[in-house]
């Protein structure tokens, strides 16, 4: 029972991690809570579903195309809604992000309608059973893809030149630009990658729960953000850890306390972490200087 719940938690958590990465990368560089990220995730899920269901594109190709599409949406979003506000107050940027989120959600409602679409699983339903654990082929694939993407991202951030520029911009955007980093380009790339990861999460949730709806982005968007804060917002390993912990906590709360309070458990953990370790689990506290 416990091992089973743990594995279920890790599966859910790995999806939260992917969403959280999009929030944390953007926040790390421009200190903006990208509220429209949940909508990007939903756009990714829809793109994947449309390609697979209506155009018979093979699943993995559709998966990559959905990531690319969502990346472009993220890029456009940054260009139209956030870039003009970069030098204005953070609250103005936040309201702009909220506006963009409402806009994107209703755009999807307008195009696709309010009814849920079925996203059939592309894999043959096979279940592996042992005394401790039952896991389906689909779940293994979701886990594998999530962890591959996270490892890939870590490699990209740590080893490539663009990754280095991203880390520099996250540390100090002005100094980075003085050192010859093209900050606008780096911010665009950050949105591109973050949105693509969000879309990957969206497609996987789509095939996992077999449905896609225009309002599917709201709760996972919030949870992904909670996960990012939990790990220490702006920290990439923090987002991965925060997502996994949140997923596990939620599944455990549903299994051992009450399934009605699973969302409340997620937020209660968030508040406890904020109160006792405000910078998140991985983050370090910044002393305010006068």
């Amino acid at each position: 029972m416990f091992v089973q719940q743990l594995v279920n938690g890790i599966i859910l958590g790995s999806i939260y991690s992917l969403i959280a990465l999009g929030y944390t990368m953007v926040y790390g560089i421009i200190m903006l809570i990208n509220f429209a990220h949940g909508e990007i995730y939903m756009f990714g899920a829809f793109a994947g579903m449309i390609l697979v269901v209506f155009y018979d594109v093979p699943f993995f190709l559709a998966f990559l195309l959905a990531m690319a599409f969502a990346g472009l949406v993220g890029l456009t979003l940054e260009y139209l809604a956030y870039r003009p506000l970069r030098r204005s107050t953070r609250l103005a940027a936040l309201i702009s992000a909220i506006g963009a989120s409402i806009f994107l959600q209703n755009l999807a409602l307008l195009i696709m309608g309010a009814r849920p679409y079925t996203f059939p699983s592309p894999f043959t339903p096979r279940v592996y059973q042992s005394t401790l654990l039952t896991i389906s082929k689909l779940e293994i694939i979701i886990l594998a893809i999530s962890f591959l993407l996270m490892i890939g991202l870590t490699f990209f951030i740590q080893k490539t030149k663009i990754g280095k520029a991203m880390r520099a911009a996250a540390q100090d955007i002005d100094t980075a630009s003085l050192m010859g980093v093209n900050v606008n380009q780096i911010i665009s790339i950050t949105f591109l990658i973050g949105s693509a990861l969000g879309a990957a999460a969206g497609v996987m949730v789509g095939i996992y729960f077999r449905t896609v709806t225009p309002t599917m982005g709201l709760m996972p968007g919030l949870k992904g953000f909670v996960a990012a804060v939990l790990g220490g917002i702006g920290r990439i390993p923090g987002a991965m850890l925060g997502g996994l912990l949140l997923g596990i906590a939620e599944v455990m709360a549903a299994a051992y306390i009450s399934s009605q309070y699973r969302d409340a458990a997620a937020f209660a953990i968030l508040i406890l972490v904020l109160l006792f370790k405000p910078a998140g689990l991985v983050g370090s506290a910044i002393q305010e200087k006068v």
């Binding site: 609250l91 309201i95 209703n106 405000p278």
Partner: protein, 295 residues
């Protein structure tokens, strides 16, 4: 006299003015970003509705009880969370808002996921106008007092305010409590007008909507909150002709509005309204670095 449709819009405008101006006290004047204001509205709505239904006390008593409970929760939630700053405070308030919503969804006395129905209709136009004017009057008096000046000092620079002898924790909690009290008042009026309440009516999006009213009107400006609340209540109604494009346009207006006038309709110029901009924050960092290097 007035058709029921317009009456409903006017009543909603009144309730939203109470919500926006009380949130303005917290966000606009004190500079504490809260995105869980609707939770206090729901506390006021549920407590007053349950009191009316269970005890049959007069409307004014249940209304005040609801507001008092909301205010009390504002203080209780404020004490631990107001140590947090900026985005972290925002997220904590969001978390509390969601927790309160989920609890209401699962309690028996609130009707759970079915919602609470059959609340007697007590809210009239006169009530709404009276309570709105009274709220605005009290809030305005607070802002123009010693307390108000302390709140504005906290918004401008918390560390400096503290070093000038202002008990920042006390004043922040006070602002939070007062804001929650008036939100509870708005919630009570809401419950006794629509006669049916559901936890999801007071969800995350409602808090966001109220924040948008304050920011759109202009932070830290009483008239701004009034205009913001009126505009954001009326615009969706005006757009009702193109019903399916309604929220699409609403979202686009928010984005375009922030591009054209980030400080809101009546806000002061950037930098004077709450929260440091990225640029100011980063220049501050650079100054500190230079200062240390020169030392």
């Amino acid at each position: 006299m007035i058709s029921a449709y317009y009456l409903q819009i006017i009543i909603l405008v009144g309730i939203n003015i109470i919500m926006a101006s009380s949130l303005n006290l917290v966000v606009g004047y004190t500079g504490q970003l809260s995105i869980g204001h609707a939770a206090f509205m729901s506390l006021g709505a549920y407590v007053s509705a349950i009191v009316t239904l269970q005890t049959g006390l007069p409307f004014i008593v249940s209304l005040l009880l609801g507001a008092a409970v909301a205010g009390l929760f504002g203080i209780l939630i404020g004490i631990p969370t107001l140590r947090l700053k900026g985005d972290y405070l925002a997220i904590a308030t969001l978390g509390f808002g969601e927790i309160i919503r989920i609890i209401f969804l699962n309690l028996k006395i609130t009707g759970g996921a079915v919602g609470l129905r059959g609340i007697p209709k007590e809210t009239t136009l006169l009530w709404v106008i009276g309570v709105t004017l009274l709220s605005l009057f009290v809030l305005q008096r607070i802002i123009n007092s010693r307390v108000g000046r302390a709140l504005i000092a906290i918004r401008e620079d918390e560390t400096a305010a503290e070093s000038m002898g202002i008990n920042t924790t006390y004043y922040k909690t006070l602002a939070f409590g007062v804001g929650a009290f008036f939100a509870g008042l708005g919630g009570g009026l809401f419950a006794h007008y629509f006669r049916y309440i559901h936890p999801n009516v007071f969800g995350f999006m409602r808090s966001i909507e109220q924040l948008c009213m304050v920011v759109l009107g202009g932070l830290g400006n009483m008239w701004g909150a009034i205009i913001g609340a009126t505009a954001l209540t009326a615009i969706p109604e005006l757009l009702r002709a193109g019903a399916e494009y309604r929220l699409l346009v609403y979202g686009a207006i928010l984005v375009l509005m922030m591009r054209a006038r980030p400080q809101g309709l009546l806000g002061e110029s950037i930098g004077q309204t709450g929260g440091r901009s990225l640029k100011r924050r980063k220049t501050l960092f650079t100054k500190i670095k230079l200062f240390r290097r020169n030392k």
